[in-house]
């Protein structure tokens, strides 16, 4: 998939919570082809203490409005600076990067048209934690579009961590857990009652301990599972080898051979 360096225009910046913003971006040209699970390397301007780009996963692509959505958790100087963007500002992005989620074993990419017959997965489960929910919205929308019925399982510490609920509800059934019980079931995602149902495939993105627990659950139930990782990275292109994750095939780059990995390849 071809990569581009684009000066996108901010159409809006929406505050989702104290810590999260949703930045919507557009371009004069049609936005490039992008897949759920891929990410964007965003240049941070106006911040003297930061240097490198920030990798942000693609939250959603609205083709009717030619808009790219990036959900940003403001956890450091770079992301806080992104939170100060306003409509009309420019944002320089390298995109789309990474490998994206797959829909069936053998790794058929989501971009390939569904040929008909019995689908490999009827019931995908998308498990997100915190800002890790972001790429699952795009994934859920694409899965729904292809005729599947996604179930979303979203977890956070408290109710303000559960974001874009109304949007997730459009594409599938939404289950929630919060550690303090202020929304949904109390506890971790791996405790949710929906897990008595059987799923064909699990996709997960969020804090590493959460993904490790989800991967363990998937292994126990022999369900194929893909996790989207986030490692410190510099080039985002697979050239510098800073962002590696240990796998059954040695060190692989989260930015190029990932960020999505079948959890059986990971040494968790």
């Amino acid at each position: 998939m071809k990569k581009f360096i684009l000066d996108l225009t901010v159409t809006s910046v929406e505050r989702l919570s104290e810590k999260h913003v949703l930045i919507r971006l557009t371009d004069a040209q049609p936005l490039p082809e992008m897949l759920p699970g891929q990410f964007v390397e965003v240049r941070v301007d106006g911040s003297p203490v930061t240097f490198l780009r920030r990798p942000i996963s693609i939250n959603f692509v609205d083709r009717t409005k030619n808009e790219l959505w990036l959900m940003v958790a403001m956890i450091g100087e770079g992301t806080r600076q992104l939170g100060r963007l306003q409509a009309g500002d420019k944002l320089n992005c390298v995109l789309p990067l990474g490998n994206g989620f797959t829909i069936q074993s053998g790794g058929t990419a989501l971009r390939e048209p569904f040929q008909g017959g019995k689908p490999a997965l009827n019931k995908p489960l998308l498990v997100g934690g915190g800002v890790g929910m972001a790429p699952l919205l795009f994934l859920g929308e694409r899965l729904k579009e292809m005729g599947f019925e996604p179930t979303f399982l979203l977890g956070g510490r408290t109710k303000t961590d559960i974001l874009e609920l109304d949007l997730f509800n459009r594409y599938g059934c939404v289950c929630v857990t919060t550690e303090d019980g202020t929304m949904g079931e109390q506890g971790f995602v791996t405790n949710h009652s929906v897990l008595v149902e059987s799923f064909d495939k699990i996709y997960t993105c969020g804090p590493k301990p959460m993904m490790v627990a989800v991967a363990r659950y998937a292994k126990e139930k022999s369900i194929e599972c893909e996790a989207s990782l986030e490692n410190l990275m510099a080039c985002g292109l697979g050239a510098c080898l800073c962002c590696v994750e240990k796998t059954t095939e040695g060190n692989l780059c989260v930015c190029k051979e990932g960020p999505v990995f079948n959890t059986q390849r990971l040494l968790w």
Binding site: I5, F51, C235, G238, L241, V244, N251
Partner: protein, 302 residues
Amino acid sequence: MADLRVNIGALALKNPVMTASGTFGYGLEFQDFIPLDGLGGIIVKGTTLKPREGNDYPRMAETASGMLNCVGLQNKGVDYFCEHIYPQIKDIDTNMIVNVSGSSPEDYAECAARINELENIPAIELNISCPNVKDGGMAFGVTCQGASSVVKAVRQAYKKTLIVKLSPNVTDIAAIARAVEAEGADSVSLINTLMGMAIDIERRKKVLSIGTGGLSGPAVKPVALRMVYQVAKAVKIPVVGLGGITTARDAIEFLMAGATAIEIGTANFLDPAVTIKVRDGINDWLDEHGCKDVHEIIGCLE
């Protein structure tokens, strides 16, 4: 249009802009952004005799105006390179140069000998900042003796253009440069990264998995420039300058200091198309200043 062609020994470059090892992969990763045949050369990822996994993650830390890295020369070894990577890159229309690392002079020489056999690789760049495992892990390139021993061994095994990449973590880089020139190096490139460190104060731990790492980016430019100037005065062989070059103006500083060519590394992470912009910027500057040939500014300082 100025004439940007330069030579590094027998190596002919269409322009002075090359990419630094470890920052540009094998070139293919950047094909969507720039025409690879627009570069003077691509110096590919460090290659060792045997495969190396490299250091544990985390391998990087952002710094003000730069970054630290401790990647640790992860690569699949020279045999894999020759069999699987070389066929993919051998027809790229620029100088494809292989960076070579090792843990002993014999290692280096054996690796260089195998690359010598590759018809479309016209040069190697020797990374002598590697620790000498037989000398308590001290880098070959921090002493004249260590540097000489490696270059001497490689010169016997490698017949084409030999560029030696110098470490800046030394007291007198000009002395090291003279030592490698005496052993038959065709050129020296400098600087490699400066040794640095970062600490996570919340966890009260070093950020990098091995504690220290190499600093690169704009933060190092003044040090690199000073060293290029000193070395260019000390040796007769051509000097390749690198260290924090982000713009054409940066590149021109290095050319005026005495570099015949330059490498761009970390800047590729901020802008994957920076190399072509720098090349065009050098050309524009020369045009604006009535210079017809880039040699009019190489070493023109004082």
